[in-house]
C-alpha cells in the first residue's frame, strides 16, 4: 500500500492490533463468491486488506490434483490468513474445523469462529458460540468471534478471552448495512478488544458508518464479490474504511438544528 493516507495512519501509529498482531489496514476481506481465483487475488490486492478469511472444506478426491489453490493467490507469507468455521452449526464441528485449519496453516492459531444457528438468517447460535470459544481458547487458539449485535454477549466473549469481537451489521450476505447502530456503538464504547463489524455491509457508506461509530475494522465478503465490478468496489471499500476511520479520529462537528454561516458577516458591502 502506498497512499498518503495509509502512510499517515502508519506514521501516527494508528494500527489495528489483534492480539499481538498489528495491521495498517482495517479492512478484512473474505475470499468467497468470486468468479475465479484470479479475480479473488486481484480484489484482495485492490482492497489493501492484510487479513483474509478462508473456509476449510473437503479436498476433491479423484479430481484434478493440480487444480490451482486459493493459497497460491493469497499466500500465507504475505497475508494473515483467517480460517473461518462457516457452515458449522455446532461447537463440536467448529472446534474440529479450527484444529484442521491450524494444522493446515502450520500452527497458525488465529481463527474466525462462527457457529450458525439458522439457515435462513445465518444468525449465530450464541450458546454454541460460547461453548466453542471456551474450548478453542483453552486449546491455545486466538479467537476472533462472529456474534450478534448484543452488547452483553459481546462483553462476555471479550471477558472469556476472545482477541476480537465481531458483531454483525445485518445478516451475512444481505448487504443491508448497519441495522442497529446504537447497539454497535454500545459494544464499541464498552470494549477493550477490537470490535470488527462482520457481515451485512452492502456498500462503501455502510463501511464508513461502521468506522465513524468507532469500530476498529470491518470484515466483508459479498459486498465486494457481488458488486458488478468487484475490483472497483474493493478499492471503494479501502477508501471508505480509511475515510471513516479518519473522520472518527478527527471528531465530527456537533449537529445543530439551524444554519451557521461559513462566511464572515463583517465587511459585507451592503
Amino acid at each position: 500500500m502506498s497512499t498518503a493516507a495509509t502512510e499517515l495512519n502508519a506514521d501516527t501509529g494508528d494500527l489495528l492490533q489483534v492480539g499481538n498482531r498489528r495491521f495498517t489496514s482495517r479492512l478484512l476481506i473474505g475470499t468467497g463468491k468470486y468468479r475465479d481465483l484470479e479475480e479473488t487475488g486481484r480484489a484482495v490486492e485492490a482492497s489493501g486488506a492484510e487479513v483474509v478469511t478462508v473456509a476449510i472444506r473437503r479436498t476433491n478426491i479423484g479430481q484434478n490434483p493440480d487444480e490451482p489453490n486459493l493459497l497460491d493467490v493469497v499466500p500465507p507469507d504475505r497475508y494473515t490468513i483467517l480460517p473461518n468455521t462457516a457452515g458449522c452449526y455446532s461447537a463440536k464441528d467448529a472446534v474440529r474445523t479450527c484444529r484442521l485449519a491450524r494444522e493446515l496453516l502450520d500452527g497458525h492459531n488465529l481463527v474466525k469462529l462462527e457457529v450458525l444457528g439458522d439457515e435462513k438468517t445465518l444468525f449465530p447460535d450464541i450458546t454454541e458460540t460460547l461453548v466453542a470459544a471456551e474450548q478453542l481458547i483453552a486449546d491455545g487458539f486466538e479467537v476472533m468471534v462472529y456474534t450478534s449485535d448484543d452488547p452483553l454477549i459481546a462483553k462476555r466473549l471479550e471477558e472469556m478471552g476472545c482477541v476480537s469481537v465481531m458483531p454483525l451489521a445485518a445478516p451475512i450476505g444481505s448487504g443491508l448495512g448497519i441495522q442497529n447502530r446504537y447497539n454497535i456503538l454500545e459494544i464499541v464504547e464498552n470494549a477493550a478488544v477490537p470490535i470488527i463489524v462482520d457481515a451485512g455491509v452492502g456498500t462503501a457508506s455502510d463501511a464508513t458508518i461502521a468506522m465513524e461509530l468507532g469500530c476498529d475494522g470491518v470484515l466483508m465478503n459479498t459486498a465486494i464479490a457481488a458488486a458488478r465490478e468487484p475490483l472497483l468496489m474493493a478499492s471503494a471499500m479501502r477508501k471508505a474504511i480509511e475515510a471513516g476511520r479518519e473522520a472518527y479520529r478527527a471528531g465530527r462537528m456537533p449537529r445543530r438544528r439551524y444554519a451557521s454561516a461559513s462566511s464572515p458577516l463583517d465587511g459585507t458591502i451592503f
Partner: protein, 69 residues
C-alpha cells in the same frame, strides 16, 4: 492383496491392508499439497502420516482452504 475399506471424504474406498496416512496421500496424488487430515474426528498431525496405519472402517477427512468469508 488384502484390502480394507476406508471412508474418505464421504466416499468408500478400498485400500491395501496396513496402508498408512502417508500412503493414502500418495495414492490420491495429493503429495506436497497443503492439506490437513482427520481420522475418526481426531486431527492427525502431518508428522505422524508415515507411521499412522489406517484401519478397516476408518472415517478419513482430508481438507484444504477454499474461498470463504
Amino acid at each position: 492383496m488384502l484390502v480394507m475399506q476406508v471412508n474418505i471424504n464421504g466416499q468408500s474406498r478400498d485400500l491395501p491392508t496396513g496402508a498408512t496416512a502417508a500412503d493414502l496421500i500418495d495414492l490420491l496424488g495429493l503429495g506436497g499439497k497443503r492439506l490437513a487430515m482427520e481420522i475418526n474426528e481426531e486431527l492427525l498431525p502431518r508428522s505422524r502420516y508415515p507411521d499412522h496405519q489406517l484401519r478397516d472402517g476408518d472415517t478419513v477427512e482430508i481438507v484444504h482452504a477454499i474461498g470463504g468469508g
